[in-house]
Symmetry: C2
Subunit: 363 residues, 2 copies
């Protein structure tokens, strides 16, 4: 059911899930030793690529996310250029909110802006659910991708309930999350009602992607690092856990990521993640130490090159990549990635060079 | 030598340092048990107070920082209103840069903006030094304060070399510090030259405040939490250590603070701090555990109520204050504070209530 790209050759029904059992990214995600160290980059599909900027010329962000042909092409671009081991669905964490009918836009240079912040019981009650047909364009794009990606796994994604809630409550990006935290603590019942609805929304969005053939998922709780461990466990974990539990039946690897979450790693894992994403602030071997401190088995981890360092000289980057790969061997499986998204000004040639180097290293 | 407030009654010479040996803030900072649990708030002098907004009406930020009478009055306002145990000099971390002749302004809603970012050897060489007479207005303000504050200690302050460098290199506030980190790693010699000059600048600014009678100082490395421990120790610690060492002869407590520095606490202490500021992300008893992990004596700490929670209901705030005071007893001394600055929308009545509650608690 293509909604905007009627000329696309979209497979008409859900394909059987591809058998990519030997794909390095999926092997590492399951805690195995892959044939090579897998690497992809958060935000690899996007602003750093000239071919992306050309394709997006004049097309608003949220329009591009609902054009199956365009979102598929943008998703493939970094795979084609860099030879990364995973394609991450080109989308945005507010896509399911927008699709469900929330009045939200992505303002260039600012980020998501919500017309009416959600702060009262009435606001929460009025928050719509997501029906799969509202994101059928995304499903169509995923089907195109499954058809085009060959042996490269497709990572679906959604924003986690806390991060989605923070945009809705604050009305846009925030450095303080003051309204979100105040609501969470002062009216826990209302908070849990909101976060529960957002968990359902994220879950519905991920199931659409998985039904259409995505091979793994990443749940982005980008701003969870603003919370204490206590807050995370009480107010956030149950809702993110609902999302992860709700896709367990697909049997695909589930990656969980947030920035500045060194204090929250065990809780991110306890929410039901198979792979814990780590930003650059702590070494991966230290992350593994924290994740196994209570005697748990060694986890799979993803990370953690500081995206800001992609602007440094090559010898600096090379040393960092080698260090991170070495530290990652402490984990059951390691997916090489950045510690946050690719910055818009990044030279794409540097990303390609990082991929080539990672592929030379011992997995 | 008043520069703008000629009608002010400014003591004409440096007063002898006041004897405030029993002031709770100074006792706690030295690791003793004060008569009551001392409390002050970062950014207490500023935007949350209507009397501040009235006084600043039509006066640009950087002008107000060079008006002795105005900066003294703004510094006293929160002491008068809340009964806090310390006054923190009303100033800004870019004040010494501006005074030295750097083309920098504070743009409302944005923050410091630098006309020409500092990124080359020429830029660094051209960076001026600070001469004490360039901040004589601040010294005059400090002398007024020493005269007016009675038994309340005055906390002087300066921005730390890394945070100052980040503004100069990025050209303004940043979320990524990409140019700063790239320069630091790619041209360490240039980085150290810049950070060394900024250490001299911060040191000169603090010595002016101490010569005029400040009773303690806080070095703000607000954004150091964006760095790894390795980066901090190699690129930042030597320069902040130079600042702390350079004021050791005054014998006043030295507080060191940055946001999101849970991974850096030992390094912040090792730079020469007597008191380590902690944000809300880790409990104070956990901070003390980290600071004593290698057998070091228990430190004095400052913190760590999340400023965002001042917008929650009073029972939430009360429970947080009691928890933090209890956790702070693990330290040799505890100065109650927020985990970052007062947010502009904070109800000042809530701050007063927090002070009253803290003063009821066992120190």
């Amino acid at each position: 059911m293509p909604t905007t790209a009627s000329s696309s050759r979209i497979p008409s029904r859900t394909p059987a899930r591809r058998d990519l059992a030997q794909a390095p990214l999926l092997v590492a995600a399951r805690g195995g030793r892959p044939s090579r160290l897998p690497v992809w980059f958060m935000r690899q599909a996007g602003r750093s690529l000239p071919e992306y900027r050309a394709l997006r010329e004049g097309v608003p962000m949220l329009k591009s996310c609902f054009d199956p042909e365009m979102l598929a092409e943008i998703t493939v671009q970094p795979v084609r250029r860099h030879g990364v081991d995973g394609a991450v669905l080109y989308s945005d964490i507010v896509v399911p909110l927008y699709a469900a009918g929330v009045d939200i836009d992505i303002v260039p240079g600012t980020g998501p802006v919500v017309a009416s912040p959600v702060r009262t019981a009435q606001d929460v009650a009025a928050l719509p659910s997501l029906h799969p047909e509202q994101v059928s364009a995304v499903a169509d794009g995923v089907r195109l991708l499954v058809d085009r990606l060959g042996e490269t796994p497709l990572i679906g994604f959604a924003g986690a309930p806390f991060t989605l809630a923070s945009y809705l409550i604050e009305g846009g990006p925030s450095r303080t999350y003051e309204h979100t935290k105040a609501l969470m603590h002062s009216d826990p019942e209302l908070w849990h009602a909101l976060a529960g609805k957002l968990a359902d929304l994220a879950l519905a969005f991920l199931r659409v992607q998985l039904d259409a053939g995505a091979d793994a998922v990443q749940l982005f709780d980008s701003w969870a690092g603003a919370l204490t461990l206590r807050e995370y466990r009480e107010f956030v974990l149950p809702h993110s856990a609902k999302v992860f539990a709700g896709i367990e039946d697909y049997g695909v690897p589930r990656i969980h990521f947030g920035v500045g979450t060194g204090e929250l790693l065990t809780a991110l894992r306890d929410a039901g993640a198979d792979v814990v994403g780590v930003d650059w602030r702590i070494p991966l071997d230290e992350a593994v130490r924290r994740l196994t401190a209570a005697g748990e088995p060694a986890p799979a981890v993803q990370g953690n090159l500081d995206p800001a360092l992609l602007g440094a000289s090559w010898p600096v980057i090379e040393a960092e990549v080698r260090r991170i790969a070495a530290e990652g061997r402490a984990a059951a499986g390691h997916i090489f990635n950045l510690g946050h998204g690719v910055l818009p000004g990044t030279d794409p040639a540097v990303l390609t060079r990082v991929v080539d180097l990672v592929h030379e290293l011992e997995p």
